[in-house]
C-alpha cells in the first residue's frame, strides 16, 4: 500500500490538493454549497477544455507543444456550421470530415516538427497563424452556417436522465481510453520514453519521428473533437472563440504535473488540472470578476506551477 502510494508522482498530490482546495472554495462561495449535480454541470461545461487538454498532454509527454489547437478548434466549429448549412447535410458525414481535417492539420504539424529542428512552440505558432489566415480568408471574417439541434443536445442534453451530459461522457471516455493506452500499453509507454530521452529511445529501436508525427496527429484529431464540443456548447461558429484554449490547455497539463521537458505527466493529472481551472473560473465568475482577471489568474497559475514543479523534479533528481 505505502509502496503504491509512493509511486504516485508528487506533482499529482499537488494537483489533487489544489482540486480539493478549489472545491472547498466553491462550496464556501456559493450559498447552497455544492451538490454532485452542480459539480458535474461545471465539469460538463469544461468538456471542450478537457478534451483539448488530453491532446496537449499527449504532445507534452512527447516533449512537444501544440499552440495550434485553438485555431484547429475554430476551424472545426466553422466547418461544422458551414457543412450543416448545406442541403441534405447530415452529421454522420460532417463530423468524420471535420475530425479528419483536424488530423490532417496535425499531420502537417507533426511532419514539420519531426523532420526539422524547429522548436515546437514556434513551429505550431507559425502553423496557427497560417490556419487563422486561411479560415479568415475562406469565411471573409464572418463565419456563416448553423449548428444543428442534434449537436446542441450534445452539450445541453442529459444522458438517460442522469446528470451526465453527453459531452462530459465523451471527455471522460477519451480521458480514460487515452490514459490507459498511454500508461498501460507498450506503444503508449514509448511516448514517455521518447519524451524522456529521444536519443536513448532511438538507440533502443524506437522510431522517434513517427511517434512525434503520431502525437501531433492525435492532438489535431482531439482538438477537432474539442472544437465540435465547443461549437455545440456555444451554438455559433467563431473566428476567435477558441483562441484562449492554447494557453489554458497548457496550464491544465502543467497543473497536472506534465513537465515541458517531456516524459512526465498523465491523464489523471490533466483531469485535476482541468477541474482546478473550471472550478476556479466558476468561483471567479460567481464574484462577477471579468474574464480579463481570469486571464491573469491562469497566467499566474501557470508561472507558479512551472516554478513548483521545477523545484519538485529538481529535488527528486538530487536524491
Amino acid at each position: 500500500m505505502t509502496n503504491s502510494l509512493r509511486r504516485v508522482a508528487p506533482q499529482l498530490w499537488v494537483a489533487y490538493s489544489l482540486t480539493l482546495l478549489c472545491l472547498i472554495l466553491l462550496a464556501l462561495t456559493s450559498q447552497d454549497g455544492i451538490t454532485l449535480d452542480r459539480v458535474l454541470r461545471i465539469l460538463s461545461n469544461a468538456a471542450p477544455l478537457g478534451v483539448v487538454a488530453v491532446a496537449q498532454t499527449i504532445v507534452i509527454i512527447n516533449r512537444g507543444l501544440d499552440l495550434s489547437v485553438g485555431p484547429i478548434m475554430n476551424t472545426a466549429g466553422i466547418l461544422v456550421a458551414l457543412m450543416s448549412a448545406a442541403p441534405n447535410a447530415s452529421l454522420a458525414v460532417t463530423i468524420p470530415i471535420v475530425i479528419v481535417t483536424g488530423a490532417a492539420i496535425g499531420l502537417v504539424n507533426g511532419l514539420l516538427l519531426a523532420f526539422t529542428k524547429i522548436p515546437p512552440l514556434l513551429g505550431t505558432l507559425a502553423t496557427a497563424a497560417v490556419i487563422q489566415g486561411i479560415y479568415s480568408l475562406v469565411t471573409r471574417g464572418q463565419p456563416r452556417g448553423l449548428i444543428p439541434a442534434e449537436l446542441r443536445e450534445l452539450a445541453d442534453g442529459r444522458l438517460l436522465g442522469s446528470s451526465f451530459s453527453a459531452s462530459l461522457v465523451i471527455w471522460i471516455g477519451l480521458l480514460i481510453v487515452v490514459g490507459l493506452l498511454m500508461g498501460r500499453t507498450v506503444a503508449g509507454r514509448r511516448f514517455y520514453a521518447v519524451g524522456t530521452n529521444p536519443r536513448a529511445s532511438w538507440l533502443s529501436g524506437v522510431p522517434i519521428r513517427s511517434h512525434t508525427v503520431f502525437a501531433y496527429v492525435a492532438s489535431g484529431t482531439l482538438a477537432a473533437v474539442a472544437g465540435i464540443l465547443l461549437v455545440s456548447y456555444s451554438g455559433a461558429p467563431s473566428l476567435t472563440a477558441a483562441d484562449s484554449y492554447a494557453l489554458n490547455s497548457v496550464v491544465a497539463a502543467v497543473i497536472g504535473g506534465a513537465a515541458l521537458s517531456g516524459g512526465a505527466g498523465g491523464m489523471a493529472g490533466t483531469f485535476a488540472g482541468v477541474a482546478v481551472m473550471s472550478f476556479l473560473a466558476t468561483v471567479l465568475n460567481s464574484f462577477g470578476i471579468p474574464p480579463s482577471v481570469q486571464l491573469i489568474v491562469s497566467g499566474a497559475v501557470l508561472i507558479l506551477m512551472l516554478f513548483v514543479n521545477g523545484r519538485i523534479s529538481r529535488a527528486r533528481s538530487r536524491t
Partner: protein, 339 residues
C-alpha cells in the same frame, strides 16, 4: 576554430550583404511594379508601420542573442497603448503617461527575467506573462475617463517631410543598440551567455545581471513599439500587439540571428524588418486580402527556421524543448573534435 563572433566588424556587416541585397530588391521591385508605392503618403505609412516592427524586433533580438525568447512583447506593446490612454488619471499628464508606459514595459521585462532566473523556461515564462499582461491591459482599458491624449499623439505622430519621427527614433535606437551590443561590456556578456551560458557562468561573467538586462530591455523596447503603434493608429487597444510576437520572431530569424543565441548582428534587423514591412504594404496597396499577410508571416517564420537547418550548422537549443544539456555538450564536444 572559433568563428569570428564580433558583430560590429566590417566582415560581419558584409556577411549580411545578401539580406541587404534582398531588402533593396524587394523595395525596388515594389517601387517599379506599384506606382502607388512611390507616393509620399505610401512612403510615410510604410515608415510608420516599420517603426513599431523595428522597435519590438530590437528587444526580441537582444533576448534571442542572449539565448532566450520573449513571447510577451505583443501583450506589453498593447499594455503600453493602454497605459498611454490613462493620461487623464496619472499625475503629470501625458508626458508622465509616456514615461509610465515605458517603465511598465521595463518592469514587466524584469519580471520575465526574474522568472527565468528562478529556473522557468523563458519560452513558457514569457508565454504565461503574455496572458497576465494582456489581462491587466484589458482591465485598464475599461477604466472610465481614459482616452487617447490627442495633443501628445500628434507630437508623437509628427513627421519630417514623409519621414515619421518614430521611424527616426527606431533607426537611431537600432544603431545605438547595435553599438551597445557589440562594443559595451554588458553587450558582450549577453552575447557570451547566449553562445554558451554554462561557460559564461563558469568564467565568472555576470550572467544573472545580463538575464535581467536582456529581458528588461526587451520589455522596454516592446513598450516603445506600443507607443509607435499609438502614433500610427491613435487608439488604445490591449490586443493591438497580438501580431507583434510572430512578426518580431520572424524578423529576428530572417535577420540571421541564431535562435540558439550568441550569434548574429543587431544591424541586420533593419533589412529584415524592411522586407516584412514592404511585403505588408504591397499586400495592402494591391488590394489583396489582408488575411494573406497572416499566412505569409506564418510561412515566413517556418521558412526562416527551416533555412537554419539547411545551412548545416548543428543547432543547440538552450531554451527550447530540444536535446538535454548532457546530450548537447556531448554533441558539441564531438563536433569540436571533428573540426
Amino acid at each position: 576554430m572559433l568563428k569570428a563572433i564580433s558583430t560590429t566588424s566590417v566582415r560581419s556587416v558584409t556577411r549580411a550583404g545578401f539580406l541587404w541585397a534582398v531588402a533593396i530588391v524587394v523595395v525596388v521591385m515594389a517601387a517599379v511594379l506599384l506606382p502607388a508605392f512611390r507616393t509620399p503618403v505610401s512612403v510615410n505609412s510604410l515608415l510608420a508601420s516599420l517603426a513599431p516592427l523595428l522597435l519590438i524586433a530590437i528587444g526580441q533580438a537582444i533576448v534571442v542573442i542572449f539565448g532566450g525568447i520573449d513571447l510577451s512583447v505583443g501583450a506589453v506593446a498593447g499594455m503600453a497603448t493602454v497605459v498611454l490612454s490613462l493620461h487623464t488619471i496619472v499625475p503629470g499628464g501625458a508626458p508622465a503617461a509616456v514615461a509610465l508606459a515605458v517603465a511598465a514595459g521595463l518592469v514587466l521585462g524584469l519580471v520575465n527575467g526574474t522568472g527565468v532566473l528562478l529556473g522557468i523556461n523563458p519560452l513558457l515564462m514569457t508565454f504565461a506573462m503574455a496572458g497576465v499582461v494582456q489581462g491587466i491591459a484589458l482591465l485598464l482599458q475599461v477604466v472610465p475617463d481614459a482616452g487617447t491624449p490627442f495633443d501628445l499623439v500628434k507630437v508623437l505622430a509628427s513627421s519630417f517631410g514623409s519621414v515619421p519621427a518614430f521611424a527616426l527614433v527606431a533607426i537611431v535606437a537600432l544603431v545605438l543598440a547595435w553599438l551597445w551590443m557589440s562594443q559595451s561590456r554588458t553587450g558582450r556578456v549577453i552575447q557570451a551567455a547566449g553562445y554558451d551560458q554554462r561557460i559564461a557562468t563558469r568564467l565568472g561573467l555576470p550572467v544573472r545581471t545580463a538575464t535581467l538586462i536582456a529581458f528588461g530591455l526587451s520589455g522596454a523596447f516592446a513598450a516603445l513599439g506600443g507607443l509607435a503603434i499609438v502614433a500610427r493608429t491613435f487608439t488604445a487597444d490591449a490586443l493591438v500587439g497580438s501580431s507583434s510576437v510572430i512578426d518580431s520572431i520572424s524578423i529576428v530569424l530572417v535577420a540571421g540571428i541564431a535562435i540558439t543565441g550568441g550569434v548574429g548582428s543587431l544591424l541586420s534587423v533593419l533589412p529584415a524588418a524592411v522586407i516584412i514591412a514592404v511585403v505588408g504594404q504591397s499586400i495592402t496597396l494591391t488590394g489583396t486580402d489582408a488575411y494573406y499577410q497572416t499566412i505569409f508571416k506564418g510561412v515566413l517564420l517556418i521558412a526562416a527556421m527551416g533555412l537554419y537547418q539547411l545551412s548545416g550548422s548543428t543547432i543547440r537549443l538552450p531554451w527550447c524543448l530540444g536535446l538535454r544539456a548532457r546530450d548537447r555538450t556531448n554533441a558539441q564536444a564531438s563536433r569540436e573534435l571533428k573540426e
